[in-house]
Point group: C2
Chain length 222, copies 2
DNA sequence: TTATTCCTTACGGTATACCATAGTACAATG
DNA sequence: CATTGTACTATGGTATACCGTAAGGAATAA
């Protein structure tokens, strides 16, 4: 079992809760950090005295407050950690459910587990830890399901996702068409872009494009 | 000190954490519920055997899963609770920071405390409990600040918030104008609605109304 | 009181979005 | 090869959004 575990999570109560879960697994040393910067410092300090952490459990989003921050997100923390201690096992523990975001996290940083916050989270955390001990990757069932599907999703849908993102970024229909033309994407004409948007509005039952964006954000597509 | 406390919160880990915080206050009976419906059942059962809960700590949002739900949010739970046990003390414990939502919660249901989830949440929970014991209302500092300001905020801003909500709900400019006319709000003409939207776009540096909605959602205005 | 300012509204022109239709290119099929 | 079907595109008309201007009214200041 892991001996030294660091939890990076700003919510006080969650820290207490995760600590208790880890206690139940008989992990002797559990340290918490409420800021990414603190987490990195503690990792470095532990390395220096030759008592490195074996596992990092980190959230993705950290609230801003009065303190000045260098690292502002779990993703930045992970990147910094990989630079100083590449073999450290990492569990990401977050409410994030945008599959694109999670996939890129897995692909880019090769994290060891993704546990989605929710009702059964502490059971899942335990499972994740046991799975990692066997050098395998763990993922919450709901997310694993989505990950399996993500490869099946037709290219079209990915273009739809991009289209929604561009709309949310403030591009007009014609600008989007030009963007698609530059990138040499299929269905790049203004007419096709309009058709696509219309299709999405029907799909999501949106009356206006403003509502379409609101729905897309709500469903985590953007 | 309170003897019987019920926590309604879907996140397992937070339940554990809050439990520990309440233990530190020497509260003997702490029960948790991961569904609003369960919370209501437990409150009713406790009333029936004449051992009612003295305090409810509840989140606002509960994830949907396979289970069929009657009550789907903390707000609905609070409404139901007020019907069967109007004198029960209630602490709302949530990440919600939209001040309009919180204000309506306080005004409508007369909740006893609002604690915003964040770094110092468990300290705040303790403060909230001590304050409630003296029959006073508690509110997280950040929120209290906003509440003090909310009365100063010109009505205009509240109408702007509503306008953004209506846009996100899929109403067209003209429909919004009609809505404002029905409610007898100021600046209810189509022209004024257009000007308002334009002002908001300048304010938020949005190129299109789609982007405006995206930004408004991002900032928690909707 | 008049003058000034601010807010609201009406109106008109332009740009963009929306929608239907038809034409074209290309692949699959017989 | 012709035929069919599908996806993409072009085009034009209508509706809506966008933007400027000016008129009217209420509140305020001189």
């Amino acid at each position: 079992m892991f001996q030294n575990v660091l939890i990076a999570e700003d919510q006080n109560t969650i820290n207490k809760g995760v600590e208790r879960t880890l206690n139940e697994l008989n992990i002797p040393n559990v340290i918490t950090a409420q800021y990414c910067d603190d987490a990195l410092l503690k990792l470095k300090a532990a390395l220096r005295i030759d008592l490195p952490f074996n596992l990092l459990i980190t959230d993705l989003s950290f609230k801003a407050d009065h303190r000045k921050r260098t690292l502002t997100s779990g993703e930045e923390l992970i990147e910094a950690v990989k630079a100083i201690q590449p073999d450290l096992k990492i569990i990401v523990f977050s409410v994030e459910h945008r599959i694109g975001k999670i996939k890129s996290l897995i692909d880019t940083y090769d994290i060891d587990a993704y546990v989605e916050k929710g009702r059964e989270e502490s059971i899942e955390l335990k499972k994740a830890i046991h799975t990692i001990l066997e050098d395998k990757m763990y993922c919450s069932p709901s997310i694993a399901q989505l990950l399996r599907n993500v490869d099946d999703i037709s290219q079209t849908d990915l273009y739809d996702e991009l289209l929604l993102q561009l709309l949310a970024k403030g591009l007009k229909r014609e600008q989007i068409a030009n963007y698609f033309k530059e990138k040499d994407f299929p269905a790049r004409s203004l007419s096709s872009i309009e058709k696509r948007i219309n299709k999405l509005k029907v799909l999501f039952d949106a009356h206006t494009s403003e509502q379409l964006i609101a729905i897309a954000i709500d469903r985590g597509l953007i």
